[in-house]
């Protein structure tokens, strides 16, 4: 077997160490002045560049970790603030609605049409304020994770919601199609909230051009993975560029004058799923009009 030039062997060894991630490896100066010497110095310089790039990557990763931690702290502070504000606003909001109602009842005969209209607006605004405050408080409770979760099947959480909304769906000429759901588990109260938000949104944002159709279905887990579920409607849909922003708190695609809603529904829905260990997203590649929300849930009971 022919022997290899020891200088070439040294080069091979250096290349192997670089490939293994040892970018600090170097060869001693080669004063041969020939091609091998040139390659030696070239590889040493390459090692310096790789080492510097590795340090930069570690520094970048550290910076990202720090910024992520800061963002998480900031989000947590905001959520606590929202919860505190919502808690303090609850009673005044309730009083406004209560006294508006009492005024309407006690002084209806003495009011003209404009007065009655204003009182009705006041009652509606108080109800809306109450709904937003309730939504904020529910979101904050989910964020805290303080309440003990009552785990059960997603299909069982869907049933009461479907029954509750059956009348509204039928009244607008729509239909709700529930396909067999896979074995998927989550916090029952949270999942009821999730289905209520998704189905209510489908009802709220239905298209005037066609009868509403809502489908709920899913597929079982493969291997150790989660089960997949979806709620799809044929309504107005969500533009793809808003696929993420719709899940932000108080982010609405339409003003409250066009469509009622607190702007918290999808943020709550996502928080529920994440708390169960899953993910919720808008399927931007779904075929046909409307919106398809997909989410994953654990396929086994905790």
């Amino acid at each position: 077997m022919t022997s290899v030039d020891p200088r070439l062997e040294a080069l091979f060894e250096l290349l192997t160490r670089f490939a293994a991630g040892d970018h600090a490896a170097r060869l001693p100066f080669d004063d041969g002045g020939d091609t091998v010497a040139a390659i030696t110095i070239g590889l040493n310089m390459l090692g310096e560049e790789l080492e510097a790039a590795e340090v930069r990557a570690q520094e970048d990763a550290q910076e990202i970790r720090q910024r992520t931690a800061e963002l998480e702290r900031s989000n947590a502070d905001l959520e606590r603030f929202a919860a505190a504000v919502a808690h303090d606003l609850r009673q005044p909001a309730r009083h406004i609605g209560m006294f508006a109602s009492m005024l309407a009842n006690a002084y209806d005969a003495k009011l003209d049409d404009r007065g009655r209209e204003w009182l009705a607006m006041l009652e509606r605004s108080a109800q809306r304020m109450h709904a937003i405050i309730d939504g904020l408080l529910r979101y904050a409770r989910l964020a805290d994770g303080g309440e003990a979760a009552r785990w059960g099947l997603a299909a069982e959480a869907l049933q009461p919601v479907a029954e509750f909304l059956a009348g509204d769906i039928a009244a607008c000429g729509g239909r709700l199609i529930i396909e067999p759901l896979p074995e998927a588990y989550g916090d029952q109260d949270g999942l009821e909230q999730l289905f209520r938000n998704l189905l209510s949104n489908a009802l709220l944002y239905r298209s005037p051009e066609r009868p509403l159709e809502i489908r709920v279905g899913g597929s079982p887990a493969s291997g150790d993975g989660p089960a997949s579920l979806y709620v799809a409607d044929n309504g107005q849909g969500v533009p793809p560029e808003h696929a993420e922003t719709v899940f932000s708190m108080f982010r609405r695609l339409h003003s409250a004058d066009v469509h009622e809603g607190t702007g918290l529904g999808l943020a709550l829905a996502r928080r529920v799923v994440e708390r169960c260990g899953g993910k919720l997203w808008l399927d931007t590649e779904a075929v046909g009009p409307g919106a398809t929300f997909r989410f994953t849930l654990p396929s086994s009971h905790r």
Binding site: A37, A38, I41, M45, E48, E49
Partner: protein, 114 residues
């Protein structure tokens, strides 16, 4: 050395260029110059190595603010490797060319109007 408006720097035989040397060279060149920006011929035929600090200094914004162009005179494989690495990897922000002939390098630098 300043020759017809061109600053000529010759590396000593066996020199191992490091960051502080690059800074010293720049300081010396600035003392010599007459033009607003330096036109440099750097003869590195005697160079044995140039570490990352020296290469980064040569490619820095600070150097670029003082240098209009740089002609690198290279010789054998080793200095050709060093010159090519500086040109292609360090990427100085001023016009840089490799030459094997010192006179041709000076003519290029002298004619360089930036």
């Amino acid at each position: 050395m300043l020759r017809d408006g061109v600053t000529v720097v010759t590396m000593a035989e066996g020199a191992e260029l490091q960051r502080e040397h690059a800074d010293e060279n720049m300081a010396a060149m600035l003392e010599l110059r007459g033009d607003p920006k330096l036109r440099v011929v750097s003869d590195i035929r005697g160079l044995r190595s140039a570490d990352k600090g020296a290469r980064d200094a040569g490619a820095s914004d600070e150097f670029a603010s003082e240098v209009a162009c740089m002609a690198l005179v290279v010789g054998g494989s080793v200095t050709r490797m060093i010159g090519t690495f500086f040109l292609r990897i360090s990427r100085p922000k001023y016009p840089t060319r490799l030459f094997t002939d010192a006179d041709e390098a000076e003519r290029w630098a002298r004619s360089f109007s930036g």
